[in-house]
Structures are given as structure tokens and as C-alpha cells.
């Protein structure tokens, strides 16, 4: 972990307007939960839809995508990455600093609202479960989307395709794809902590944790290797 890179990355992230994209979704989740409570309707009617359908399936991956694809992707896009890359630093150090910043910001801006939403919906225990699952998902997504920003010049588009097509569509149709769905890991871990009927984990908890770890590590290792072979293109090309 290189503190200077982490510092520049964090300043860059908070300095860009894109940062504002982090707020609406968490606010929406908490707002809908508050609305549900105020309506007097039983929380089992709206809880799963808001917490899982919106919180876990939309807010978490979108926030992770904005941050994860932004920490390095936006610097590659505007060319400022050169200043960090022309240093005699192991590329591992650069990627790890980026990952730590992305994961930390994503965890804070998703797990905290999920905790609040869970606690308001049912109990502190549900909140804690959701926070734990979301934190695991946030770290995994961050590594995945950071890698994506090195594989493609359009990481946000690819990330959205993964979220919507793979996790949104295929995991509901084909049970085999669940093994490779960060969303399913998040739900399973949350369920195991919260023990509630609001959440239905579809993969086993050990599998979820191990797969999340494997995805995170593999993405990071691959990202480091891609950064070693980072090429610059001239303005004309």
C-alpha cells in the first residue's frame, strides 16, 4: 500500500463530479425503507424488494462500479496515470493502493446505508447481516471493476453488462451461474448472519466466502500484470 497513491486517488475521486453519483442510491434505499415503515404495511411485503432488489442488486454494484472503475480508469482516461506509472514502484503497490481506496470508499458508502436500512426494516441483526454481506460484496466488486478498467477503455459499460445480464438475468434463470455471482455471495453471507426470512441465500456460506476471496485475489493479480504491460497511445492514434 502506497500512501501517496492512496492520497492522490482519494483526492481525485472526491474532486470529480462523478463522486456525486454515490449519494442518490443509498438515499433512495433508506428513503424507501422509511416510506415502507410509515405506510404500516408488513415489512415482509416490501423488505425483500427494497433491501435485496434495490440495495444488494442495484445500489451495491453500481456504487462499486462508479468507484472501482474510477480509481484507475479515470486517470487512464485523462492521462494523469502517467505520473504514477513513471515511478520505480512495483506495479503491485499501485494496484493495491487503488484497490484499498476503492474498497474502503465502497464499503463505507454501501454497508453503512444497508445497515441503517436493515435496522429500520426489521432489526439491528438484519442490519448487521446486510452490512457484513455488503462489505464482502463491495470488496469483491471493487477488485473486479478495477481489473475491468485495465482490460477495457469502457469499463463502466462492461460492468453494467455484467451486473444486468449476468447477475440480473442469468443467475435467476440458470442456477449454475450463481456460483459466479457476487450478488449471491452477498445475500448468502447476509442471510447467515441475520437468519431471517427476508433473505434467501442460494449458495452456501463457505462457498460464497471462498469464491469471493478467489475472485478478489485473481482479479488483483491479473490487474497487476495488466498494469505492467500498460501502453500509452499518442494523441493521433
Amino acid at each position: 500500500m502506497n500512501p501517496t497513491i492512496a492520497w492522490i486517488t482519494a483526492r481525485g475521486l472526491f474532486g470529480r463530479r462523478r463522486f456525486l453519483l454515490l449519494f442518490p442510491l443509498p438515499v433512495l434505499v433508506i428513503g424507501l425503507v422509511a416510506l415502507g415503515r410509515a405506510s404500516g404495511v408488513s415489512n415482509s411485503d416490501w423488505g425483500p424488494a427494497v433491501l435485496v432488489g434495490l440495495g444488494v442488486a442495484v445500489m451495491l454494484p453500481i456504487v462499486a462500479l462508479v468507484v472501482g472503475a474510477g480509481v484507475l480508469g479515470s486517470e487512464i482516461e485523462d492521462g494523469t496515470a502517467v505520473h504514477i506509472l513513471t515511478k520505480p514502484l512495483p506495479r503491485r503497490e499501485i494496484i493495491l493502493a487503488k484497490l484499498v481506496v476503492a474498497a474502503a470508499i465502497t464499503v463505507v458508502s454501501t454497508a453503512v446505508p444497508m445497515f441503517v436500512a436493515g435496522a429500520l426494516t426489521d432489526s439491528v441483526r438484519l442490519g448487521a447481516g446486510l452490512a457484513a454481506g455488503t462489505a464482502l460484496g463491495a470488496v469483491t466488486y471493487s477488485a473486479l471493476f478495477l481489473l475491468l478498467s485495465l482490460l477495457s477503455r469502457r469499463p463502466v459499460l462492461l460492468g453494467l453488462a455484467y451486473i444486468m445480464i449476468w447477475e440480473g438475468l442469468l443467475t435467476n434463470l440458470l442456477s449454475g451461474t450463481r456460483v459466479l455471482s457476487v450478488q449471491q455471495y452477498t445475500i448468502s453471507v447476509a442471510d447467515s448472519v441475520a437468519h431471517t426470512s427476508m433473505l434467501t441465500g442460494r449458495v452456501s456460506v463457505p462457498l460464497a466466502v471462498v469464491m469471493a476471496a478467489i475472485l478478489t485475489v485473481a482479479s488483483t493479480v491479473l490487474a497487476i500484470d495488466r498494469l505492467r504491460s500498460f501502453t500509452l497511445t499518442g494523441e493521433t492514434s
Partner: protein, 303 residues
Amino acid sequence: MTTVELSNVSRWYGNVVAVNDITMTLGPGVTGLLGPNGAGKTTLLHMMAGFLPPSRGEVRVAGAPAWRNPSVYRILGLVSEREAVHGFLTAWEFVLANAKLHRLPNPEAAARRALGLVEMTGAQDRRIDQYSKGMRQRTRVAAALVHDPEVLVLDEPFNGMDPRQRLQMMDLLHQLGDAGRTILFSSHILEEVEQVSGTVQVIVAGRLAASGDYRSIRRMMTHRPHVFSVHSSDDRRLAVALMGQASVTGVELSGAGLTVQAGDYGTFTRTLPKVALAEGIRVRRVLPSDESLESVFSYLVAS
């Protein structure tokens, strides 16, 4: 003595050859990489700075390959063409961060020295996105110089600078070259290269077209035949008078005026008004018809 060596370096993108079999050795002093836009200058510089693998051949900085080898940045600094800086930082924060990333023993002192070199000390506490283009460029040079590199590579460093900033930057490159650093900068403007560098490498269409002392290259460029189209009150009489001049090697008379071939640019442009004045002819138009840089370069390649 730190050198940059390219041996038989080629780089292609698909079917397009950007750099074609270039071999050169750069030693201490200032070298100008001259060539028209699209000649492959940036591709060459990126290969030297480790941001592009050569398709064939080898690029070595101080004996080590540049590609996939971050340790070259201990001795190499790069000022890229893209004018990208972290605009939300001040110059001081930016250069200091660069010094820290280099793990310099005293980053504050290094940042102060680098900002002093480019004369940015006075403005160092303002945000970079409030700077003029020239100031931003100097800040980037300070960041590239913060670790006092043996080799400095600059891609079109004078772009967007006003004449005073240009002079100052040229001075700085001179100083660094005189201090034994290996400085390579690219440009598509002959005059820039002439003012800064002792050695010039000319590349045209991906090939090394000429290489050596700038004076000899300058001579090759200025002593080529120049073609002017001239229009006057009496073209025929002017043609006769011009043919008597040593600097004129040929005159062609046509309905549109005269096409004059001159052996020496400077002498001809001084001779023409004198001749016209002596003959009482009014010159209405003089156009150098082949002054584009491309024609200069193609002449160089042909010779």
C-alpha cells in the same frame, strides 16, 4: 554515462508501420527528434519510456530493457505530450507527491529544487487547473525532473508555450544537457530543434532520415533548391534580370507569372528586391511554393 540505445527497432499497429528499423544511440547532451506530424516520434518516445513494447528490436536505457521494467524510472523522466495533470492539486502538492513516489530521501527539498528549476516557486501554491498552459507544462517538467534523472524524454515540450516560456524552457534543457544529462525532445518545428540541440535525429514516415549535427542538417535543408512563384509588373524583363543572378538557377515564364528556382533561400530573398528596384519593376507577389515542412523532409529523405 547513461545512454539510450535503440537497435533495429520497429513498431507496427496491425498493418501500419509506425517505426521502421531505427537504430540510434543517445548520449549526454540535448538531442532533438525532428519530424513531421505522424512520423512516429511519439511512438519512438513511448518505447524509450517503457510504455510500448517494440514489435521488433531492442530498446535499452542504461543497458536495461525499458519495457515492463519500472526500475528504469529511477534514471528516466518523461514529459508526455498529453497535457494531463491532477488539476485539483497545487503545483507544490503535485511535485511533492512525485518526489514521494520516487522514495527520495528528502522529498521536500527535491520538490523545492525542481519547482525552482522551472521558475514555478512563486505560483506553487495555486491549484494546477488555474494555471496557463505554459505553467502547467512547466509543472509537469518539474515533476519529471524531481528525481534529477539521467535521462529526460520530452514529447513536444514547447507546444502551447509563449516565446518567453519557450526561451526559458530551452535554457533549462541546455543547462541539463551541459550538466551531462541525456535529454531527448521531439518537435515538428525545425527552428525549435535548431535553438536547443546540438544533435538532431530526423525521422520521416517511421524511418531515420538524417542524424547528426544540426548545422549540417540545417545546411542540407537550406541549400536545397527553393521554388518561388513571382508576379510583377513586367515578368519577362524581371526574368531576364534574375537569370543574371548567381543565386537563381532557373526561371520559367508562364501566363500566371514567373516560377523561379533559387539555389539559396537567403541570398535570393535579398537579391529579388534589389533587382526589381534597379530595373524599375514593381513586384506584386512573391510566394515560396514549397515551404511546407513535409517538402523539406521529403527533400531530406531523397538526398
